[in-house]
Symmetry: C2
Subunit: 158 residues, 2 copies
């Protein structure tokens, strides 16, 4: 079929209609857009998505261990070490020894960490308002509810 060669030269726009029929493809495309904008939002704070998530979870769950944090973030423990290392080196969290179990560290946010997180959280809120600004309150609630159902569907099939 050398006829396709003609249409290859200047195909106006390629079609992803087949993939658009898959919910997962639309999820990926939307998440990529949100993810890219979130990265730009966090850059001024020297945070990435993972470090922002870790910082928030430490702030909300003072004293949790690295294993607990790793499980909450669905990250393997070895990979969490570098994240915690970075946050501790920057003075945003502390690794405190636990007397009752000297294997574990109790992670806590510092005053400086809380201050940085407050600013970052405000910026992330603004980012969400921009990305989801077109959605009605009810539509956003329905979206989250549907996403949670999908997430639960996957948990049964690990």
């Amino acid at each position: 079929m050398p006829d396709d060669a003609a249409e290859a030269a200047k195909r106006p726009h390629i079609s992803d209609a087949t993939l658009r029929g898959l919910v997962g493809y639309n999820m990926k495309r939307a998440f990529m857009a949100v993810s890219a904008d979130l990265a730009r939002t966090l850059a001024p704070f020297d945070l990435r998505m993972l470090t922002f998530t870790a910082l928030t979870l430490v702030a909300d769950n003072p004293g949790l261990s690295q294993s607990q944090l790793a499980q909450a973030m669905t990250v393997e423990r070895p990979n969490l070490v570098v994240i915690v290392d970075e946050l501790e080196t920057r003075g945003l969290i502390t690794r405190d020894r636990v007397p009752t179990d000297r294997r574990t560290y109790a992670l806590r946010i510092t005053v400086e960490g809380a201050r940085l997180l407050a600013g970052a959280a405000r910026a992330v809120g603004a980012h969400e308002n921009l990305m989801m600004g077109g959605l009605a309150k009810a539509e956003e609630a329905a979206l989250i509810s549907t996403l949670n159902r999908i997430e639960a569907s996957g948990k049964g099939r690990s």
Copy 2:
């Protein structure tokens, strides 16, 4: 505050309530679940998410160039080379020279590629039915519509 140490020992479950208030966080969690199940679905065909996407786009847009495919997949051209290399080496697609522009390759799916894709697409359909099975038709349509609006919000802010 050495009091936190006590609760650190056996915190029953850590809370991600703050993050759950962010749409993006729920999107990531749901997408991770779908993505993991999709990877398991494609494994028997020796395909990953990216190679399945590329194969589908080549099948639907015969003769497209690597640049066009890269743009459609939101992948940088250097990274697409390895994907196309793999598909071509496996005999699933062909790289044909275009006489009118000898810089570009026209990508086309082979008979064997189409046969593999047919099986994979059927499996992906079953995977979608399982993951989205709990959703009503209207709910699924609303989800896709909302996701597309979010995706469009991001495109204005690159």
